[in-house]
């Protein structure tokens, strides 16, 4: 049997066993991963790591005779021996006897995905990539970063990784499919030193195919340039000012917004946007799209965690909230169909996640946005967890560049930026043109008209 056939066989046996031991419905997911990682620091290899991992998760749904609701539970294991597969399925059923019947639980009613497209999620020739080749990539990034400037005299190293995975998912209504994907990255973390103070910064590139990655030397140089420009950072006085988020930090705002659009947050009353469907929640220049079938996208997959077809959903159109992110459960809770956003890991119940999520780019370049800003902050790094999705309170540590008269004046650090997330979204008065894809979630640079900055 081929790898996929074996996996389908495992899933089928688990589903059959779940039904035999008392489940009225069941689903199972088997994830296999093969990974390779290497880090070079200075001229030395820091570590090289290789692994193969597998995990099977079985969800059992057991109908409660009196209420008609389903009880559900999950059991998972990294041991795929024949006995353990059967034991795991039976355990899920046994565990489900203890949970409460839920009228909204169950497999999706919607028709499962068919005619799965090839989304370009891996390049078969990459599977032969050698450890030595990825060590060499890391070495090139590291060497370029270190050679960029004499002030780059140290680093946390440069790292290359390749991860291949295949996912097989099946449920008791007859769906059984698999897909294969890959994720490659190159990452450099140099340290610049001047006058006894040190600054670290990073740059990385990621893609489904090795040929999509930026040149490792360019990654190293970009990381070095970013670390160098932070030298001499200072605090600025507490003030209110316009704030520009670069592409990377703007993507974190998009991720936070997505967490508030999850159907789970909405029905749990844990999202400050829960009652805002159809309302203008952002500036008219903001259009937010989630598309699970973007070719080669780092969040692309042919079907979601419940076997439904992934699709393109417009979540915010011209500033108006137009869709939640839903799986079948959260959809039923809200009286809506799934949006194909079920995410599923082997060990946990389905949840909701964005696939490829982005704000549509505008016309102005980052340079234009800076030039239009008389006095303000360009944020290049955010730290801390200061976002409350229930209230929209936002307050995070920041570092970046201070802008005076439309030009970058000096680097700043040890400041915080704060605001109310709804006011921030509505206050977006500039959407940049450059979008940088390094993960599932991306954004062009965004400028917010005014935020509270705390500093000296």
């Amino acid at each position: 049997m081929s790898g996929f056939e074996q996996h389908r066989d495992c899933v089928e046996r688990a589903l059959a066993r779940a039904r035999e031991t008392g489940a009225d419905a069941a689903d199972a997911v088997l994830v296999e991963g093969d990974s390779l990682e290497a880090r070079v620091r200075g001229t030395e290899i820091d570590f090289v790591s290789q692994a193969k991992e597998r995990c099977l998760g079985v969800r059992a749904l057991v109908r409660d005779a009196s209420s008609g609701g389903l009880r559900s539970a999950i059991a998972s294991t990294t041991d795929l021996s024949a006995d353990t597969i059967l034991e795991t399925a039976a355990q899920a059923v046994a565990l489900a006897q203890h949970t409460a019947p839920d009228p909204h639980a169950g497999l999706p009613e919607e028709t499962p995905a068919t005619g799965l497209p090839d989304l370009g999620l891996f390049d078969p020739s990459d599977r032969n990539v050698s450890v030595e080749a990825r060590i060499e990539d890391a070495r090139r990034a590291e060497t370029a970063a270190r050679a960029f400037d004499p002030r780059i005299e140290n680093s946390e190293g440069s790292q290359a990784s390749s991860h291949f995975s295949n996912v097989t998912y099946g449920h008791s209504n007859g769906f059984l499919e698999s897909y294969e994907s890959a994720f490659h990255s190159i990452h450099s973390i140099p340290i610049a030193r001047e006058n006894g103070s040190m600054q670290r910064d990073t740059w990385f590139s990621a893609g489904r195919c090795l040929r999509e990655l930026e040149d490792p030397a360019a990654v190293g140089r970009q990381a070095a340039e970013r670390a160098l420009r932070r030298l001499g950072s200072r605090q600025i006085p507490t003030c209110e000012a316009p704030v520009i988020f670069d592409s990377g930090t703007a993507a974190s705002l998009v991720a936070q917004l997505a967490s508030c659009l999850s159907g789970y947050a909405v029905y749990r009353k844990a999202s400050f946007l829960g009652e805002s469907m159809g309302e203008n929640i952002a500036a008219a220049s903001v259009t937010l799209i989630d598309d699970g079938r973007k070719p080669g996208g780092l969040g692309s997959k042919p079907f979601d965690g419940e076997g439904l077809a992934t699709r393109r959903n417009v979540l915010v159109e011209g500033g108006r909230l137009s869709s939640w992110l839903l799986d079948s459960y959260s959809g039923r809770k809200l009286g809506l169909p799934s949006t194909g956003n079920a995410s599923r890991s082997a060990g946990s119940a389905p949840g909701v996640a964005a696939t490829n999520l982005w704000i549509e780019p505008g016309e102005a370049s980052l340079g234009d946005l800076v030039a239009e800003t008389k006095r303000g902050l360009l944020v290049t790094e955010l730290i801390g967890m200061g976002f409350n999705p229930v209230t929209g309170d936002y307050s995070r540590g920041a570092a970046g560049l201070w802008i005076e008269n439309g030009e970058v004046a000096y680097p700043v650090e040890e400041i915080t930026i704060a605001g109310n997330f709804l006011e921030m979204l509505r206050g977006i008065d500039g959407v940049g043109s450059e979008i940088l894809w390094r993960g599932r979630i991306a954004s062009p640079p965004l400028r917010i008209a005014a935020m509270q900055i705390a500093g000296a």
Partner: protein, 484 residues
């Protein structure tokens, strides 16, 4: 009899990993330029039940098993791991680790002896928490929900979860020792969302507790009722909270969980890997004054039953009490084997890893500041205007620049030495090597947190603890939405 020989027997009986087989594996991994190799075997069972909307909707159980083999040559590490535990897969992984760690060369031989690390376990349990009947866990969550809704009609959402883990480890090193450990871990979380009378405003209150002890302890109403009441109190307080002003303020930290300040501001910066590489803001500062007089910071993995405690670290080194800062002077770093060796010091029992799928790194255990002399009430009275921070959400640090940040989940204005209005959305930011120099008062009321800390580093999570006495720190930048 401690648990540790028990864990060694477990791997022998279940997977046939006997001393001779492990010796053969290590011999395969050694040789050439490899100067150290170890085998890390893990068999971990975890389960959780989650309640929301008044019912336990979900239960799950997970079995994770695997083995990781490391081959080390100077600074260079080769690592291979697999989810299959057998002598055959060990031999494969050993050769992979050795080849990527160094290169050719002849195999060496190793003779293993089982070692007792400590007379008694720091965390003996009567029953593995994952063997406790699930119906008891379900009943606990239902009782929590009923109690909360009886106390507070404004609850619009309550989420509670109970999680248990039982982790068995075996570590065999090429220096000839094989050690085992069995690590229980339990945790209870309660989060409530309250809505005010207008229906316009909702706020969250969260509390958690846990540690390495019997699940039974969580079932005691004397333990969980105060936890639920506290979550409700925090949510009520936040319903009346004002927006936090932005600017530089004198700050008083409450005892216990605010010890996260130490974890972020100094703890990470004192980890041996960063200091060996010279990438920490604390690098090359041993013997220097990095904190105010009276400040003593300790990392102690040996506290009984605490979430951050470990009998042995994930390299087999017994945990210990390490003084990091003594009376303001930097006295030590946290070490794993590799960094200790390269820095010419002893390992400190801080080599930890999330699982068999990860390489060990220097990590914290339970990190806290020793108590001082001051009366906590008097410390508050000493501040004319400032911020009283009682509890925190998450924090983060840039160890190179030393900048750290953490977010208050419960905070108050201090006005004329008295606790004033509650504030929301307060974020504290500072510089690790400077912040402890601005400590003005140290309370006599050291408290450890309730067992909820999880520390992330380089993609790996490990359970940790923190602690702090009431502390006054002057001139910290506080982020908020209001102009001061």
């Amino acid at each position: 009899m401690s648990d540790r020989p028990h864990a060694i027997e477990f791997f022998d009986e279940r997977f046939g990993l006997d001393a001779a087989g492990l010796e053969g594996t290590l011999a395969d991994a050694l040789g050439g330029g490899i100067d150290y190799a170890d085998v890390f075997c893990e068999y971990s069972v975890s389960d959780s039940v989650v309640l929301e909307e008044g019912i336990v909707k979900q239960g799950d159980r997970h079995v994770e098993q695997g083995v990781g083999i490391r081959a080390q040559s100077g600074e260079r590490r080769g690592y291979a791991h697999s989810d299959e535990i057998s002598l055959a897969s060990l031999a494969d992984a050993a050769r992979t680790a050795r080849s990527i760690g160094s290169g050719g060369g002849r195999s060496a031989s190793v003779a293993l002896a089982s070692r007792e690390t400590r007379g008694d376990s720091l965390y003996p349990v009567a029953t593995a928490p994952t063997s406790v009947d699930v119906s008891k866990k379900v009943k606990l969550l239902e009782a929590i929900d009923a109690h909360a809704r009886q106390q507070e009609p404004r609850v619009v959402q309550l989420t509670a979860s109970a999680t248990s883990q039982y982790r068995r480890l075996l570590i065999a090193g090429s220096e000839g020792e094989v050690v085992g450990d069995t690590q229980p871990l339990v945790r209870l979380n309660v989060q409530v969302i309250l809505e005010d009378a207008t229906g316009q405003r909702r706020e969250v209150g969260y509390q958690g507790m846990g540690g390495r002890y019997d699940f039974e302890r969580l079932q005691d109403p004397e333990a969980w009722k105060p936890l639920v009441d506290e979550a409700l109190r925090i949510a009520r307080t936040n319903l009346g909270a004002q927006a936090c002003p932005a600017g530089t303020m004198d700050v008083v930290l409450a005892p216990g969980w605010p010890g996260i300040l130490l974890h972020e501001a100094v703890g990470h910066g004192l980890e041996g890997d960063f200091n060996r590489k010279g990438t920490s803001a604390f690098s090359d500062r041993l013997g220097q004054k990095v904190a105010a007089e009276g400040v003593t910071v300790v990392d102690d993995g040996t506290l009984p039953a605490r979430r951050g405690s470990i009998n042995i670290d994930d390299e087999g080194t017994p945990s210990q009490r390490n003084v990091l800062i003594e009376n303001g002077v930097l006295t030590g770093y946290l070490q794993d084997r590799l960094n200790a060796k390269l820095m010419g010091v002893q390992p400190t029992g801080n080599g930890r890893r999330e699982s068999y799928a990860h390489l060990p790194m220097p990590r914290m255990t339970n990190t806290f500041m020793l108590a001082g002399q001051d009366d906590p009430e008097e410390i508050l009275r000493s501040v004319k205007n400032g911020l009283y921070a009682v509890s925190f959400g998450g924090g983060q640090v840039d160890i190179t620049s030393g900048k750290f940040v953490f977010s208050a989940s419960e905070a108050y204005r201090i006005e004329d030495g008295r606790i004033g209005a509650p504030l929301k959305g307060a974020t504290l930011i500072g510089n690790g090597p400077e912040v402890l120099q601005r400590v003005r008062r140290i309370g006599n009321d050291l408290a450890l947190d309730q067992g909820v800390g999880t520390c992330g580093k380089d993609g790996q999570s490990v359970p940790v603890g923190v602690g702090l006495p009431t502390l006054r720190i002057d001139a910290i930048t506080v982020g908020g939405t209001e102009s001061a």
